[in-house]
């Protein structure tokens, strides 16, 4: 397929090579003149686990915000499977197959764990669809399977606000899983967790990343080393270095701004 495309004369400089799942090119966003993300380009391949690291204020979360449509880009492009995301609404981006977990657990406190997962089930997303949505065996089975994966099968009937911090993080991961996104974006999935919860989360992540691309922001270097295929280092809104963890760790620029202190 690659060869066919490469030999095709219509491919211009504009078209994204189809083998990138996500192609971020020359992405820039400026808030009142301050460029939080400045000319960032990177590519994520199918089944790749990419970790974005960088000091505070490097623009890591902003990059995820830009991809999922929460923040609008000032310039540049984000193509997901060849589709330009910068013009799509947040819900359309989710429906295209991009899932996002937020830094602080973002779940529906007033609903039960079951209902939280049910709302995330990718069916009946229109007004009419939601009115006529049936909680059938497929939905139940899937919710129970996901709940088992995220260690919450005994909490299904509990209101989400009564979960512990770690359980809330798992619930949000579960809400993403049930959407079954091809690109999963996780913003500091183990932040604020106890040691026990961290180990369980790493185990959980290793289990769910199979068969999809994952974009993770994380500070925990041990965790990064465990899961990352490639690492992108951001610094002051720009890409400072990119490559395997081994390469990035030995990059003098990275050592200077990030790892060295």
């Amino acid at each position: 397929m690659n060869a066919a495309i490469l030999s095709s004369p219509v491919v211009g400089a504009e078209a994204a090579p189809p083998d990138h799942l996500l192609a971020v090119e020359a992405l820039t966003v400026s808030f009142d003149g301050f460029k939080a993300v400045n000319d960032v380009s990177f590519y994520v391949e199918p089944d790749e686990i990419r970790v974005i690291i960088g000091p505070n204020g490097a623009g890591k979360t902003t990059v995820l915000d830009l991809i999922c449509g929460r923040t609008r880009a000032s310039a540049g492009s984000i193509r997901y499977k060849g589709q330009e995301l910068t013009k799509l609404s947040e819900s359309a981006i989710v429906q295209a197959g991009v899932g996002r977990k937020f830094q602080t657990p973002s779940i529906y406190d007033d609903l039960t764990v079951f209902e939280n997962l049910e709302i995330s089930f990718p069916r009946g997303r229109s007004v009419f669809g939601a009115l006529t949505f049936k909680r059938d065996a497929e939905v139940r089975d899937r919710i129970h399977a996901i709940a088992e994966t995220i260690f919450l099968k005994d909490q299904l009937k509990e209101r989400a606000e009564f979960l512990s911090h770690g359980q809330k993080q798992w619930l949000e991961i579960g809400m993403l899983l049930i959407q079954d996104p091809e690109l999963l974006m996780l913003d500091e999935p183990v932040a604020g967790m106890s040691v026990g919860e961290r180990i369980k989360t790493a185990e959980l992540l290793n289990q769910i990343i199979k068969g999809r691309s994952v974009l993770v922001i994380e500070h925990d270097m041990k965790f990064v080393e465990d899961i990352a295929h490639r690492v992108t280092v951001l610094h002051q809104g720009k890409v400072l270095s990119e490559g395997s963890m081994e390469r990035v760790k030995n990059d003098p620029k990275v050592i200077e701004v990030y790892l060295g202190h």
Partner: protein, 390 residues
């Protein structure tokens, strides 16, 4: 982490999401019993008609439970939709009452009296559809819903919400009142549309007609409660709750938030319109005094007092506040508005979930304990929630 409570919860194969819980069926039976059996037996036809009028406001309160309680969209302009529904019905009735035979003393016979007084000589185009009863019945709901759709679509697409939305709805209520009052020749002005007589030839002014309309109204109210219950119980209802607390997150679950807000607002508008039409039929006129800011805020108070999260609470709240209004304003006409304001403040400060909240938190647990105590030995002490680790 293991919790003995979990072993007691029912297996997942039973229907854990019934349309209505037993206690809700009981509440419905109680409400239907009071409205359709007890009150008609106890009250004379004048008082029954008065209750019928109160119940037309309950339609608005029901809509507010969905729109305000569930979706978190506070509308201070429900009077618009109540009024539009009422006006649509009044226009039909007025045209029927303005037959050539009834209006032969006018300079232009066959048109409504207020048009004649304002030197209008032909029925304006927007009155034409109201010559037909089926079309009128459709327009009673369609006009307010389309109007609500227009407002809410414009607002919610631009992500205008919360207080701003409430203020805009209030401004629209004020504008609509001014428009109706100002266009006297087309709307009947400040007096409204009066002297309504027959509905498709059936005289609605007689006692028997009023009693029949009361029952139609009660039946429609029950039907609307069931419709609202359906919305509340559907996944859409849960999305509204989710949206109320974390609007952003709902977008990232793949939903277009604006569409759901528009639906909630239009649903409430549709219910208010049905109430307005029933008001016109039972009271025999419609005027701008039911459209403006004051009635709109009063309608919010009915829902707040009854409980903005409870469909039944909203109906009881409407009945109670209106009953209090009638009794109070008969004896102390000047004090009523202060009383109403004080009631609203008291409810918001002390009982944010209104009467229904008091019932659910204070009375129901005691009742269930009593009932369970009779049926089975008391259960072991159970923590309030599963097993919160923190």
């Amino acid at each position: 982490m293991t919790n003995p409570v979990q072993t007691l919860t029912k297996s997942v194969t039973v229907n854990d999401n019934p349309f209505m819980k037993p206690v809700e069926w009981l509440s419905l039976a109680l409400l239907a019993g009071v409205i359709l059996v007890v009150l008609p037996m106890l009250l004379d036809s004048f008082r029954l008609n008065l209750v019928g009028k109160y119940l037309t406001y309950a339609f608005v309160a029901l809509g507010l439970v969905i729109c305000w309680g569930y979706a978190g969209i506070l509308s201070l302009g429900q009077g618009c939709f109540f009024g539009l529904g009422g006006y649509c019905m009044a226009m039909y009735l007025k045209l029927e009452a303005s037959s050539v035979a009834n209006t032969k003393i006018q300079s232009t016979p066959g048109i409504p009296d207020f048009m004649d007084w304002n030197q209008i000589t032909a029925i304006p185009w927007f009155w034409q559809p109201f010559k037909s009863l089926p079309l009128t019945l459709i327009l009673v709901v369609a006009v307010p819903v389309l109007f609500a759709m227009l407002i809410s679509f414009a607002m919610f697409k631009r992500r205008v919400g919360g207080t701003y939305f409430a203020i805009i709805t209030q401004a629209i209520a004020a504008i609509l009142t001014i428009l109706i009052v100002g266009q006297q020749g087309y709307t009947g002005g400040i007096n409204g549309i009066t002297d309504l007589r027959t509905l498709h030839g059936w005289d609605i002014r007689t006692d028997s007609a009023k009693t029949i309309l009361y029952f139609v109204n009660g039946g429609l109210l029950i039907a609307c409660i069931l419709a609202a219950q359906y919305v509340k119980k559907s996944k859409l209802g849960r999305i509204l709750v989710a949206m109320r607390d974390k609007e952003d997150r709902v977008r990232f679950s793949g939903y277009s938030v604006a569409g759901f807000k528009v639906f909630a607002f239009c649903f409430a508008a549709g219910l208010a319109a049905i109430g307005g039409a029933m008001f016109t039929l039972q009271v025999g006129f419609m005027s701008p005094s039911f459209v403006g800011i004051v009635p709109s805020i009063e309608m919010v108070i009915y829902a707040a007092v009854g409980g903005r999260l409870s469909l039944f609470g909203a109906v009881w709240g409407t009945l109670l506040v209106n009953w209090a209004k009638t009794s109070f304003s008969e004896s102390f006409p000047d004090l009523w508005l202060f009383g109403l304001g004080a009631l609203f403040i008291a409810v918001v400060l002390a009982f944010p979930n209104g009467l229904a909240g008091i019932w659910r938190e204070q009375i129901e647990p005691r009742l269930t304990r009593r009932v369970k105590g009779l049926r089975a030995p008391p259960p072991a002490i159970v923590p309030p929630h599963g097993a919160p680790a923190e």
